[in-house]
């Protein structure tokens, strides 16, 4: 079926120890969309992304990618299948060089063959990373670390890119650059699932959005619908 979504999350429950974070959360991401997950702190946005990547195991429910259920596969298989996460807080390897961080992005077999080419593309997207290639990743500024984290994810040639709070802790001008990069990646054909606290900016570039509260989808619609929803305007945009 050609109408099959690229990613489908079907009724997942997940949590840490006794704390239940997600209860019956479902969402879909179609090919070439930018979908944004909105919600306050602790609503379960990051946990949703971690379930999709397999580093948190849902207790029930299923994550389906290209029609394939993933629950039986180890998390380390995701990269090879075309999923990449830019985690909250970047999570680079601080004592590896920028270059090594990027190279390890292309660790899985499919990407390794084209690592040199992709490295060049990442350097075109973020020329700063070329300047900093021999520096330890831990010594980069916040914005540069975010570039390195996105670059590392792109090195794995994903067809679905998950971004967790890419603007967190960055100066406004760098945030603008990040959104510009996300937009250009989308125009290049990338499917993106974006978690963002900067609601206004997220709804500007997204095609659709989900509002999550206490581990469940409370509201969903096109970006336009969500932007004009009075509840959202009141609760999140302060308008």
């Amino acid at each position: 079926m050609s109408t099959e979504p690229l990613l489908e999350v079907r009724g997942i429950d997940a949590g840490y120890g006794d704390v239940q974070v997600l209860s019956g959360l479902s969402l879909k991401v179609e090919e070439k969309e930018i979908v944004t997950l909105l919600g306050s702190n602790g609503a379960g946005k990051t946990t949703t992304l971690r379930c999709i990547m397999g580093v948190v195991r849902p207790r029930t429910g299923e994550v389906i990618f290209r029609g394939q259920p993933l629950s039986a596969q180890p998390a380390s298989e995701r990269a090879g299948q075309g999923m990449a996460l830019v985690p909250e807080g970047r999570e680079l390897w601080p004592q590896l060089t920028v270059r090594e961080n990027l190279e390890l992005g292309a660790y899985h077999q499919r990407a390794r063959a084209r690592a040199a080419q992709n490295l060049e593309r990442v350097h075109q997207l973020f020329p700063r990373l070329l300047e900093r290639k021999s520096q330890m990743a831990g010594s980069l500024s916040g914005g540069e670390q975010q570039m390195a984290a996105i670059g590392r994810a792109l090195m794995s040639e994903p067809s679905l890119l998950l971004l967790d709070e890419p603007s967190l802790g960055l100066a406004p001008i760098v945030v603008e650059q990040m959104f510009e990069v996300i937009r250009s990646l989308h125009q290049g054909g990338m499917t993106i699932l974006l978690v963002e606290q900067n609601l206004q900016a997220a709804l500007e570039i997204a095609t659709r959005g989900y509002v999550i509260e206490t581990g469940q989808v409370k509201l969903t619609g096109t970006a336009e619908q969500l932007r004009n929803d009075p509840k959202i305007r009141a609760a999140y945009l302060g308008l």
Binding site: A75, R78, L92, W93, P94, L104, Y107, R152, S156
Partner: protein
């Protein structure tokens, strides 16, 4: 002056062995956060393997290095899959892993007592007593060979860690395992390979040591402690740091022998005096807290 040169040469040659000995311990701790107390057991096993191959089959200990190292690598991988893999990691797993690996060491040691008795053994090669003159000092050919092998081993390790995907992944796992999983690195496989590599290094060091010193099933205990000193001094996994730390330990042990009347039984204690001093003055090691950088 000539005496001084001799001491320097002796220190450098001994340092090669110490660095090889310590590297495996540091590598395993750096990546898995587990103190491999069985390091001493594998040093002992390497010594007996070399001795057995030499005395039974006449195989030169230097030719035995590669097969012994390879077998030890596989043994290490197997031990990881069978035992270590089940242990809790990090601060929470400290006690369990210490006890388990200490237990493995005791078992290995007692197997060695059963098989080979507690008598001291030596590996007698034809060149064991040969010496050449180097910059005016008499230097044992065998010690030079041990140093050469140690240098080559550390060089290969350095290339492995900095130039290959496996080596970079290994260092990345030491720093942030979850990021590795996200990039498709099978972290558990890296753990197994690292444990194998560290175990292989221990056996190689043991085999090299066997060509220099007499040994019995307790061999490896003092070597484990010396490895600790080097790891604490030199930091984790940096080849250069390990080499410098090994050199410092060797010099601390070698130089006092020139003092007339210095009791030789005290040389082994000097390393620990050094360890205590470093822990008090520079708890992060001489070169700070770099992890497998």
């Amino acid at each position: 002056m000539e005496r001084f040169l001799e001491l320097v040469i002796a220190s450098v040659l001994l340092a090669g062995l110490y660095a090889t000995m310590a590297y495996g311990l540091g590598l395993i701790y750096g990546v898995l956060r587990i103190v491999n107390l069985n390091h001493g057991g594998m040093i002992m096993a390497g010594a007996y393997a070399g001795w057995y191959l030499h005395s039974e089959f006449g195989i030169d200990p230097y030719l035995a290095l590669l097969p012994v190292g390879t077998v030890a690598f596989l043994v290490g991988m197997g031990m990881y899959r069978l035992l270590v893999h089940r242990l809790p990691r990090g601060a929470a797993g400290g006690v369990q892993s210490l006890l388990l690996l200490f237990g493995v060491w005791l078992v290995m040691r007692n197997i060695a007592y059963l098989l080979f008795t507690g008598n001291d053994q030596t590996v007698h090669t034809t060149y064991a007593t040969r010496a050449i003159t180097l910059a005016g000092a008499q230097v044992s050919v065998n010690r030079l060979a041990v140093f050469g092998v140690a240098l080559a081993t550390l060089g290969i390790l350095h290339i492995l860690l900095t130039k290959t995907y496996f080596g970079k992944a290994l260092r990345a796992v030491a720093q942030n395992p979850e990021s590795c999983t996200l990039q498709g690195i099978r972290v558990d496989r890296i753990y197994a390979l690292t444990f194998g590599l560290g175990t292989a290094l221990a056996s190689v060091a043991g085999l090299l040591g066997a060509t220099l010193f007499p040994f019995n099933p307790s061999f490896g205990a003092a070597e484990l402690l010396k490895s600790f000193v080097v790891v604490v001094l030199g930091g984790l996994g940096s080849v250069a740091g390990t080499a410098i730390a090994a050199l410092i330990l060797a010099a601390v042990e070698v130089f006092p022998t020139a003092i007339p009347g210095f009791p030789t039984y005290l040389t082994a204690a000097l390393g620990f005096v050094l360890l205590v001093l470093v822990l008090v003055l520079r708890p992060g090691g001489l070169f700070g807290q770099r992890v497998l950088g």
